[in-house]
């Protein structure tokens, strides 16, 4: 109608197809470059020692040892925080979509607040939690880290779940109620099942954020060369270990940072792949 007539439909199709190709190529190029850099610098420095040992004295100056403390710390922290966030996010997202279904304005306001929370940088959550910890006299610990990271990833998880729960067809809502379901049964037996694939995506996304974040744990979980054995002990994390090693002037130590980054990438990749595989069987039941 307006101007598009200047070029034919076929040319238009071709141009947009190429533009979309280009967009995808850019993304793949960036990911490829990052992974390539990590692997090129990290793989030579990667050794069994790094994976299986905690830092010995002078590790950050090129001494012996590994980052097992950070690997274990990160896994504890990310799993703990993801679990905690999930326990709160799922009821919250279901509540917004099932119980508040009638109250569109309230839904919008809640979504706005959660979006704002999403936009707050993680360092602010870290500083906020740190302030509370000082006030209450709590020292940096795995528990404090888990709680802080959980609060920080909750908005991501809630909105991720919310976006898929929104798409549940109205007829399913009505059919569920017509069979005599309470809203609770409707939420957990129908909405949840219908959205398992999307909910899993939300969880995996949040897990990735929890695993890779530095700022929220910097003050709250602390850093240590030991593997934490209780929730009250401080815990090291991989991103922090990477940061410390990268800031070293010694090239050998810097390369170890890339090795740690490679480990982090592998773990996230493995968890995403296994998570999806485990949930694949639920996908078939969803209706559209």
């Amino acid at each position: 109608m307006w101007g598009i007539k200047l070029i034919g439909k076929k040319t238009e199709e071709l141009i947009f197809k190429q533009l979309m190709r280009l967009a995808n190529a850019i993304i793949l190029f960036v990911i490829g470059l990052i992974v390539f850099t990590i692997m090129r610098k990290g793989l030579p420095a990667l050794s069994w020692e790094i994976i299986s040992q905690v830092p010995k004295g002078g590790y950050y100056f090129g001494g012996e040892g590994g980052v097992l403390n950070a690997i274990v710390g990160s896994i504890y922290l990310a799993f703990g925080a993801t679990f905690l966030a999930f326990v709160i996010s799922l009821p919250s997202a279901l509540f917004i979509n099932v119980h508040l279904q009638k109250h569109k304005k309230l839904q919008d306001i809640i979504r706005l607040f959660i979006d704002v929370m999403w936009g707050i940088p993680s360092v602010v959550y870290g500083a906020f939690a740190f302030g509370i910890m000082i006030y209450m006299g709590i020292r940096a610990s795995l528990m404090a880290g888990i709680v802080t990271v959980a609060i920080f990833i909750m908005p991501i998880m809630i909105r991720g779940m919310d976006e898929v729960l929104k798409m549940v067809p109205k007829t399913l809502f009505e059919s569920g109620l017509s069979l005599g379901s309470t809203k609770y049964e409707l939420s957990y037996r129908i909405f949840f099942k219908q959205c398992i694939p999307g909910i899993a995506t939300a969880i995996l996304l949040s897990f990735g954020r929890a695993f890779g974040d530095v700022a929220a744990v910097l003050f709250t979980a602390g850093f240590t060369d030991n593997i934490p054995t209780s929730l009250t002990q401080p815990a090291a994390t991989l991103p922090l270990a990477i940061f410390f090693q990268l800031s070293s002037p010694i090239p050998e130590v810097q390369n170890r940072a890339y090795a740690a980054a490679a480990i982090l990438t592998f773990i996230i990749l493995a968890i995403s792949v296994f998570g999806r595989m485990a949930l694949r069987k639920y996908k078939k039941n969803s209706i559209n």
């Binding site: 009638k102 009505e174 017509s178 069979l179 309470t182 037996r189 129908i190 039941n285």
Partner: protein, 252 residues
């Protein structure tokens, strides 16, 4: 025979500024097929959904008047809405199977009613799938997702699912509108059989279907009931001008 299952009294329903149902008064006779007939947007679905209070879900909805089920008001505070809804199976325009297996779809209503014995469950699921003539088609794949069925089969599954909670009424909201002619015929035939045991309210805008099925007709136009009565009287001797036009097809 003439007792009415549902009685609607001075029902008015509006959403925001829109007055959707205006002074509705009607009776739904027991164990018959009552067809609510009317063109699109005349409020017939809304009337149907107010019977099992799905209208509760509409934002900014205002309802006055009353609906009596077995002579008891359904809008009262003491009414347990889940019990009310269990008494009425709903079939919607497009089938909405639950996101689970074929078996679980039928078993769902039984499970939430607290019935858990496995053998009994199996027998009941089989029974209701047989009632809707679906058993032979699905008996080898009860564990398959309900979404793998054809749309006609899904609609029959939804009927079985609704019957399994042992309702007194079946509310059917244009249940054949998304189906091919053959599947529609199967559903229509099934309902003709079911009317001996259930009170059926069937919403449609298709005149021919109404003629085929109705024992009793409620004709709606722009949110009002224009005419209602036994099917024969209604089709052969319509009283109102609008009804005559609708029946002649000279109507938009």
């Amino acid at each position: 025979m003439n007792q009415s299952k549902i009685e609607v009294k001075d029902l008015n329903l509006s959403i925001g500024n829109q007055h959707i149902l205006k002074n509705i008064n009607c009776k739904i006779p027991s164990r018959k097929i009552t067809v609510i007939l009317g063109s699109s947007g005349c409020g017939k679905s809304t009337l149907l959904k107010s019977m099992n209070r799905l209208t509760d879900l509409y934002p900014k909805v205002k309802i006055s008047g009353d609906i009596l089920l077995n002579n008891q008001g359904i809008f009262g505070k003491e009414v347990e809405v889940t019990d009310l809804r269990k008494k009425m199976g709903l079939m919607s325009q497009r089938p909405a199977p639950l996101p689970m297996s074929i078996f679980d779809n039928v078993a769902y209503g039984l499970r939430i009613s607290g019935r858990k014995k496995k053998l009994q469950m199996k027998l009941r699921v089989e029974y209701y799938l047989k009632v809707v003539n679906l058993w032979d088609e699905v008996k080898d794949r009860l564990k398959a997702p309900a979404s793998s069925l054809s749309i006609g089969q899904q609609q029959r599954l939804c009927l079985a699912r609704g019957l399994a909670v042992d309702p007194e009424l079946i509310l059917a909201d244009e249940p054949t509108s998304a189906l091919d002619p053959l599947s529609s015929q199967v559903i229509e035939k099934k309902f003709m059989e079911l009317k001996d045991s259930f009170t059926i309210v069937w919403v449609t805008h298709t005149l021919r279907q109404a003629k085929r099925m109705a024992d009793h007709v409620i004709f709606m136009y722009l949110g009002e009931i224009i005419e209602q009565g036994p099917a024969e009287e209604f089709f052969n001797n319509p009283q109102h001008e609008i009804t005559k036009n609708f029946l002649n097809g000279s109507f938009n």
